[in-house]
């Protein structure tokens, strides 16, 4: 599926929930199914700074696309990570670098987009794009 299609899918999914309670319950559900990071990556090196909860993120390049895995000690954060992984994992570096993330606004999670240090969504997206950039540069240099 293209990234746009996945985003559309997520938007549709969330559109079934009228209120915050159901949206968050859904997010919590999603938090349970996050592609878990290998325990050996749950170290300082893979920690994303600037989150109130701890988030570990790992990325690997496979057949021209990037595969992300992650974990967090907070469940809502895990849910958000899962959303991002659904969108970004399996995409090419270029797609990720140019990705528009306005779908987060549309599913009513805009509050997590604020440029603060209190939540990690922006940091996570930044880190994912940085990984993409790094892989792109690396393959260009090969």
């Amino acid at each position: 599926m293209s990234m746009e299609e996945i985003q559309e899918q997520i938007i549709t999914e969330f559109s079934y929930f009228d209120d915050w309670l159901d949206r968050y319950n859904h997010l919590i559900e999603m938090g349970k199914s996050v592609p878990l990071i290998n325990e050996k990556y749950k170290t300082k090196n893979y920690l994303i700074g600037g989150c109130q909860s701890r988030v570990w993120l790992h990325a690997a390049m496979k057949d021209g696309v990037i595969i992300f895995s992650a974990d967090s000690d907070a469940v809502i954060t895990k849910g958000i990570v899962n959303l991002l992984i659904r969108v970004f994992s399996g995409q090419t570096p270029d797609t990720i670098i140019d990705a528009d993330i306005s779908f987060i606004d549309e599913i009513g999670l805009k509050e997590h987009l604020s440029p603060t240090r209190s939540n990690g969504l922006m940091s996570m997206i930044k880190q994912m794009k940085l990984y993409a950039l790094a892989f792109k540069t690396k393959s260009a240099n090969q």
Partner: protein, 406 residues
């Protein structure tokens, strides 16, 4: 004086607003308090009718502002019962006040192998400046321990006060555990060995009576914004002998007496420590805030917040799985807790949806979190305008959290 909670609530305009269509329940008072209308009006009036730069101006506005500013100093000095008004220095906040003392006093008296005493329950603002100073001076930072309840053991403390101890820095009230520390007694013990004591009073001002003369502390630091006043102003109280002994901290502007290109002599206290254009607006706003507190009745406020603490503690303890951190016998209206093993960020995110403002995380006191082996807590902290009904709503929110993450 009767404590009329409805009147008080109507004096704080922000309490009329809604968050997610629910009335705002503001329980993040240890981070910053809300402002009564008269504080907002004081600021508006200041900029609408009076604004000018003060000191040395001969024109009318500058003169009335200077008078207002120095009168505010006098009033604030009286509010905290400071022996002399020149001993009250305006800073931008508690953090700056402590940094000023560390730089201008600590740096001057501390030598290699000397010791600085702090507690293990400090806010970073009363910890990191001393760490840095000790690092620079190759001095030792010694940490006064406290019990799991959040109480400092006085005899351990007394034993730690040694020949090498050059300064003691203590929080009047812990911003995480709520403990009201026995600072008067601790100051007395330190003074027996001629050791000066700095009190971090960020959580005390406007919550309980701060009586500098009675405490006899050497330094007292607090912030306007945590005491119903505006942001950008704080107090450093210092004993005259110390302030005169200290070098200036920042230099420039009105704090100098005489300047040539190569030499400068400094003004007397308090001006010596007030470099640059002072924040007149915020000082006048802080005066208005303390006035409001005085008129409302500080004793009544203290009693009201204590009531809320007792009620809130009882209610929270009735919820299975809630663990409260900080159980000192003497405790202010600060309630830190965790629900089952739910992450504070998860809990806070849901509680927020009820229109309830609480704080989550380490509250700038990471060593406290380390002691209890937790990444953070949820913290509800009370002010004069809070009510039992608001605590009931918090309980509802907590039950919802349990349901969602249970």
């Amino acid at each position: 004086m009767t404590f009329d909670i409805n009147k008080i609530r109507s004096d704080f305009p922000i309490l009329q607003r809604k968050i997610y269509d629910k009335p705002l329940i503001y329980l993040d008072n240890a981070a910053t308090t809300q402002k009564p209308q008269i504080v907002i009006d004081r600021i508006t009036d200041y900029y609408t009718y009076e604004n000018a730069n003060i000191h040395r101006g001969v024109h009318y506005l500058s003169q009335i502002d200077t008078t207002a500013f120095e009168n505010a100093r006098e009033y604030i000095a009286r509010f905290i019962n400071a022996p002399k008004k020149e001993e009250v220095i305006f800073t931008k906040g508690t953090t700056e006040s402590i940094n000023l003392v560390a730089a201008s006093f600590g740096r001057k008296i501390l030598n290699k192998d000397d010791e600085v005493l702090v507690t293990a329950m400090e806010h970073h603002s009363n910890l990191v400046p001393w760490q840095m100073l000790c690092y620079e001076k190759e001095a030792r930072l010694k940490v006064i321990p406290y019990s799991d309840k959040g109480e400092i053991n006085l005899s351990t403390y007394q034993m730690m006060l040694g020949d090498k101890t050059k300064i003691v820095a203590l929080p009047h009230i812990s911003n995480t555990l709520g403990s009201i520390n026995p600072v008067k007694e601790m100051i007395r013990m330190a003074h027996e060995k001629n050791i000066p004591v700095l009190i971090d009073g960020a959580q005390a001002l406007s919550h309980l009576k701060v009586d500098i003369a009675d405490l006899d502390c050497d330094f007292y630091c607090c912030s306007g914004h945590k005491a119903y006043g505006p942001m950008g102003v704080g107090i450093l109280y210092g004993k005259t002998e110390h302030l005169n002994f200290m070098d200036p901290y920042q230099t420039g502007g009105e704090m100098v007496e005489h300047v040539t290109l190569y030499e400068t002599s400094f003004n007397e206290i308090p001006f010596k420590f007030e470099a640059g254009t002072p924040n007149v607006e915020a000082v006048l706003g802080m005066e208005a805030a303390l006035h409001y507190v005085e008129e409302t009745g500080l004793d009544e406020i203290t009693a009201h917040e204590k009531n809320l603490l007792v009620y809130g503690t009882k209610k929270l303890q009735q919820i299975k799985g809630v663990q409260i951190y900080g159980k000192a016998a003497e405790k202010a209206g600060i309630l830190s807790f965790l629900i089952d093993d739910i992450h504070s960020f998860d809990a806070g995110t849901i509680i927020d949806k009820f229109g309830i403002a609480i704080r989550t995380g380490h509250h700038c006191a990471q060593p406290v979190m380390n002691k209890f082996g937790i990444p953070g807590t949820v913290r509800a902290s009370f002010a004069m305008y809070n009510t039992r009904e608001e605590i009931d709503k918090l309980v509802e929110a907590i039950l919802q959290v349990k349901k969602m993450f249970g």
